[in-house]
Point group: C2
Chain length 434, copies 2
């Protein structure tokens, strides 16, 4: 049986996992791929620090470009992360006609256009299942399994760190800062947690999902992104009381005129939906196709083994293509896309307002919402907290972001309202039964 050489860019947690699975399942991989896969070179920043991670010492190098150019490297695996030098290395591999498997969502979301075009121009495969939802084969499902469908919407819980923190906050009734500190101590959150906590990682994944669903890559810099820092225990409690769960949710849709709607925000999802029951570090994606209806995918979204599962499964497929170089892979056909202006978004909202606890306050607040065309679906008023203000929660009917923004500004300007209202989006759609 033929052997194909793998060049590994990066030998951190994921890279070591890939090396381990290629060894553990060498025969299985060979049977599926049609060739034995062998790591012939691995690029690390300091070879002395990466011994004993499943790659023989004499195959470690700090010269990443030499891995891509190595004559025995047939396939390139990029698991180093970051934009540079990953971008140049992946591009060089594609230009050299070497298929690439990447787990790098930042690279794909921010520099994908260049790479997709290079892959298409050269007829070389670029696969990246591991970049979204770890080991769950969501991209494969989008590309192939649901190919007959127009994708109506994608909802994703795509960052395990955020979901872990929200789950712990709710289960243990502890505030964000305390849970984050604990998550950092126990390794569930990075020392610098911003990429996860501020929604950037989720947004990268949302852009990749949109690219596969709609063939459009939106400019990442224009994305509205909000993380979970402002979620309070009070909002988690109200959510539960109202039948919702608070999640950091990515929403991806395409409008009738081809604009891409992407939102990454803390969002209330209806308790009847499976997304609401996704807890801890798990990821989940709901894809609605016009033919198939709702499909739902759940599993581990990050970590050494789930990511290695996706990388090696992609490698198997890429190897098969490499064995038949006369066949050009299916091109991705990803073109630049346009984001839907935020003002045009339509959705329901949860509004928590500190309202002066005296007659007439509630009707004045409700009237302010009504004056901006915001219709109230329900509300809850809690006892006064002692400072003369009471927490009032409104759930609105669907409204545009523009109208809601204006209504919130007017609300905040009322003398009966203390401070800016808290506003959290609701994605409502309960699971339907036939």
């Amino acid at each position: 049986m033929k052997t194909l050489g793998v060049g590994l860019l990066g030998l951190g947690t994921v890279g070591a996992g890939v090396a381990e699975v290629l060894t553990r399942h060498a025969d299985r991989v060979a049977a599926r791929a049609g060739a034995r896969l062998e790591i012939v070179r691995a690029a690390v920043h300091d070879p002395a620090l990466f011994r004993g991670r499943g790659v023989p010492d004499d195959r470690l190098t700090d010269d990443a470009a030499s891995v891509v150019a190595h004559p025995e490297v047939d396939l390139v695996v990029e698991v180093m992360g970051g934009l540079d030098p990953a971008h140049g290395l992946v591009r060089a591999a594609l230009d050299a006609g070497r298929p690439v498997v990447s787990a790098n969502k930042a690279l794909l979301a921010e520099r994908g256009q260049d790479l997709f075009e290079a892959a298409e121009a050269r007829g070389v495969e670029l696969r990246f299942e591991a970049s979204v939802a770890g080991g769950i084969p969501v991209l494969l499902s989008l590309r192939d399994g649901l190919a007959a469908n127009r994708i109506e919407s994608i909802y994703g819980i795509l960052n395990g760190t955020c979901n872990y923190i929200l789950t712990r906050m709710e289960q243990e009734r502890r505030p964000f800062d305390a849970v984050l500190a604990e998550a950092q101590a126990s390794g569930y959150a990075e020392a610098n947690p911003s990429t996860d906590i501020d929604g950037i990682d989720t947004a990268h994944k949302a852009v990749v999902l949109a690219a596969l669903a709609y063939g459009k890559l939106v400019p990442f810099a224009e994305l509205p992104i909000e993380g979970i820092r402002r979620i309070t225990l009070a909002d988690l409690d109200f959510a539960r009381e109202l039948g919702y769960a608070a999640k950091l949710l990515a929403v991806v849709r395409e409008s009738a005129d081809g604009e891409i709607e992407i939102r990454v925000e803390p969002t209330f999802v209806h308790g009847d939906h499976m997304l609401a029951s996704v807890s801890g570090v798990f990821n989940a994606v709901k894809i609605h196709g016009d033919v198939v209806g709702d499909t739902f995918y759940h599993g581990r979204g990050a970590g050494r083994e789930p990511t290695a599962s996706a990388v090696v499964s992609d490698l198997i497929r890429v190897a098969r293509g490499r064995l038949h170089p006369e066949i050009r892979p299916e091109p991705l056909h990803v073109a630049p896309g346009v984001l839907m202006p935020r003002d045009e978004w339509v959705s329901r909202a949860y509004l928590r307002v500190a309202l002066l606890d005296q007659p007439g306050s509630l009707s004045k607040a409700a009237g302010t919402l009504g004056a901006h065309g915001i219709s109230i679906a329900s509300f809850i008023q809690k006892e006064s907290t002692g400072n003369g203000f009471a927490s009032v929660v409104f759930l609105t009917h669907p409204a545009t972001e523009r109208a809601l923004g204006q209504a919130l500004a007017s609300l905040e300007a009322l003398p009966e309202v203390d401070g800016p209202p808290v506003r959290i989006r609701i994605e409502d759609e309960p699971e339907t039964e036939e």
Copy 2:
């Protein structure tokens, strides 16, 4: 752009759905497939009865063999169901080098060996995503998305009719017969419901899942299969009280020595697991891979549109292969498999026993279980029902089927026990968090 001709075998609910999607999404399908797909012939048993279903009258024929042999037919879609004549027609298509997409789980489970071998011998694609879990791309995930994994286990809720009936029984507290009659009246169950209710449909799907996961096709006739007829409201209530949900579950595993373990039975699944929350006509599959861990898939498992989604998505893939006839498709490599003897199964059990309501009965029953090596994890005793017997429920620790069978026989022989004990398997494993 090139046009590929599709020959449709069957124009019932699913066939009409396929025709409709190929029309509605003609451009989308062409872009994905690389060729336009056009139904050039459709076989029906009486052309006069199938007008107006999306295929022009002059393309309808009652001569199915002529569809497979038609010179303009490049791809064959088999959605007629049943073993014969479907088997001969699919075989003829494969022998003629024409790729086949089938939704026919009975055919694949009972005659698959012949078809897989013919497809491999001719290097022709045979795809059948629609045969299991409708529109949910579970087979694609097994074959490609999780290719790096050894599959440790597959748990499936694979029959919407059974799950609908169990859901309604529990929600409305009505007995099986009443809910079945209503399901038949409203179209959720067939006039002759045996294929669904008695677990045969689920078992067909379990065999297909095992074939893809392990490359082994077990003899369908030897499968132990049990449907949902014996599930009572009392058992549903005890299940809930104990933290479980009763589901018609397919379990697929491979033993260390290569025997395939397949069970289709009413089973208690732990309430913490997503499988427990699958309600109504939905299907769900949990696949545990040794690298990826648990992955979970949920969606509509049957019906015109979900099935058409899977058939047309398969057609797109098959068409791409047809455009590149120099490439042989990945063979399925399915060999005959051996079933694990039922006596060797190990699992936990729920036992409901009508026990004489007098001192010493319980310890005698418990002692009988213990004498056969069955260890009791917990039990519930309810008030006497007035006839001198009380319902006692035991949850056992894992035990072999052999030991449990002997223990049940001894239990039934006790004078303190009224009638045969009710026994329902427990698949316990709650979802784990990292």
